[in-house]
Symmetry: D2
Subunit: 258 residues, 4 copies
């Protein structure tokens, strides 16, 4: 059986006259796009353009819901109750589903953004709220969740399709969490090193921690970032390395269909 993995990236995170990221370059590297839905970034015009561009590149569509916080780009924690949070996520999924009609391609996954993602990674009530939103709107949507997070548990409990996510360019701790950015060496800026880490996750289901230990890390999808030009280079190297090693880089729905 051929080894497979998905590559995903956040996209469509501009707003109105503002542009950010490297969507065009990333669309040629990844196989699934997490598209901002108008709360932490994006607007209907950008969403329409992104779904069309992604479709043209054969990239599968995902919703990337975030907090209602354009000023903070969804990176600020906002404390709301779980009902508000659930409906906020459902609303954003629906908005992208409508825009996806312009591409004639369905939305097939959901990946929370920024502070929402970070909080729900450890907060079970938030993870379940996001899961319920997904399940209510479309129970066939794939919940993309950091490997080992509370969202993985929520997906299991709710019976949702799940894609466990690993990071190409981030170091891991012994307990499987990401090394905080304030610690030196938390980001792998070297493309070769990132590609090696990804390959080991995909082929062996493990990663070498910052502490130097080999820990279990089974992943279905790898997140690559595009905020800086260098990140695009890393992403490209990761894909090339994966394919050189015979790993198939596929869309999320194909990943879970095996």
């Amino acid at each position: 059986m051929t080894a497979m993995v998905n590559l995903n990236a956040d996209m469509g995170e501009g707003f109105g006259a503002y542009d950010i990221g490297n969507d065009a370059a990333l669309l040629k590297i990844v196989r699934s796009a997490n598209i901002a839905c108008g709360f932490h970034a994006s607007d209907p015009v950008i969403m329409q353009r992104l779904v069309t561009l992604a479709k043209a590149q054969g990239v599968s569509l995902g919703a990337h819901p975030g907090f209602n916080d354009l000023w903070g780009f969804g990176r600020r924690q906002i404390l709301m109750n779980t009902q508000e949070l659930e409906y906020m996520v459902a609303y954003q999924i629906g908005a992208l589903q409508a825009m996806a009609c312009y591409a004639g391609d369905p939305v097939t996954h959901v990946k929370p953004h920024g502070a929402l993602n970070n909080m729900a990674a450890t907060d079970e009530a938030m993870a379940m709220a996001i899961g319920r939103a997904i399940k209510t709107v479309d129970a066939s949507l794939i919940f993309v969740a950091p490997a080992g997070s509370a969202m993985v548990t929520a997906a299991h409990r709710l019976g949702l399709p799940l894609a466990r996510e690993g990071f190409a360019d981030r170091r891991y701790e012994d307990d499987g969490t990401l090394t905080p950015r304030r610690i030196s060496g938390s980001v792998l800026a070297d493309a070769a090193e990132a590609a090696t880490q990804v390959l080991r996750m995909v082929q062996a289901g493990e990663v070498v921690s910052r502490q130097g230990n080999t820990i279990s890390m089974r992943v279905d999808t790898i997140c690559v970032h595009g905020d800086e030009p260098s990140a695009v280079v890393v992403a490209g190297a990761v894909r090339q390395q994966l394919e050189a090693a015979g790993v198939a880089v596929v869309r999320l729905p194909d990943m879970l269909a095996r």
Copy 2:
């Protein structure tokens, strides 16, 4: 064949801590609800509550998209190009469709709000943009448009299901347009008079203009307002009068299914 008509009202137009209108009272009178979608009013929590309440009363669900203008409650004209406008409407329809999943009831119609509705009533390019948004997201959605407006033409051109709308409490001019509010007598505050006007539209397909002439006015649905307590009384009287005259007051999908 039994005479039929639909009654519709705008709802869910609060925001966060703010409430407005008489949704609970109107849900007992009308058969179709136009639910604000978060741009001129409403939020995900209100939308979830409204679809659930409407479902419980057997009231059919419609999207009520407006300009991105909470401060102006969607009553200010905003000049954007037709692509922006089209995608803005599509986004809002999708958002409500997702929230409607909480009621297990589909969205079955779309009626633009405020300045968007007024502008598109006479602006063909805007009317077509709204129509394209509806057609792209779900070509079976009923386009609720003022009788005789450019949106009626757009619905025909695009092959969309159409419900022509009349007003219970507004006077008409000889040319079939509404008498401007600045003209005395433009609003029918008297419940009996409003009910009589509606009955004539439904039974005879005509209305008596401010100038005293009988003009053609074929309608499928009647809009009642709920901003003031008196408006709810008028709406109740209209429904009672219709039923007393043997007119069936039905949901929008049933209206068009005949």
Copy 3:
């Protein structure tokens, strides 16, 4: 020397078409108004109206800055860094100062709103950030802070004029904090009881805690709420009782001028 105290209330917390609270009734009872500044509530039109109404009633003007969170009415905690928070507060003070030019009356105090107020009551860094904003914009502005809070400390450290605030209708714990609302009896709905509590704070500088102990509680201003009609009754009773007991109810600047 005559005993004195100030009564303050939050006002102008509507938005666009939305109204909330009982501003007209409260303006006849209190002597200082905390006016929302457009972030958690209010808009330029409401602010202009409020400063004019307050001036006409001889009520002194204060800024009531909150988080940028209209949906959550400023009641949701948002985690931003202290620089962002400081500039956000400064911006709102300036906005109200401009609107106060329409009344020809200066802004004389600042009282944070909702979650911002609750967080800064115990978070020293936030309290100092708010204090620095006040000091930078106008070092003569009175910082209204809950008695015993971190904002009192911040006002002292920064050399800002300070008004310590007590609550008419809330029960206190032995440590001087407010009894959480989830605990039965945390709100004094009885007007006479509220008035008695206020009188004791003003005349003796103490309050009887929920646990039955007499604790120190020196206050310069009393906050009354206006969200419900009953609250207005309580506020009116408090003022009447104070004046019957010979306590002068004065504007905030007069309170500190003694």
Copy 4:
């Protein structure tokens, strides 16, 4: 007497994580900055940074109020009544005044942005509304208005200090209005040509129209744009050419003090 002119540019038009324009480069060329105030662009953090940077370069501070339209970057016409518009402008001026306290430099001028500027250039009621906002908040603020526009008339009627504005890189029609962008040759992309046009305005008070006629064009300030790198080159060439010709390039307050 030495010939003088001011150079101004729009700045601080990013938002949160979004950046736009070339503020750093422009601050070395112009003498007055029009700083966005949080409605069409900018936020408290950006405003604080800009006033500090401008102060460091000896650039005078101006408010650049726009419509409440971040999505449309203030370029969409929004139809509101003149009271709403007036208070919206006053609010934004006050917000920047507060942020300017961080630089210890006063706001000395006001220049409307985008659609607001374009509409008020020909709409007298809007021009007067903006003028009243300026006069109410600070009657010593300089109203920067396109030469020949309704805002020039409003400034005269209200007795406000006025700076008439010309454009370096735009062609004029015989009637003194700007050649619409849709007409070929409406933008002067050539730096030398732009500098020549500016020099003639400043030294002779005239400009050669698209039709080839010499028309009167007395200006106090020249607007340069910074949206594209080429625009910065044009701006730099204009300043160099002016100084080479012995024209003093001064701050707006110095321009009017002569």
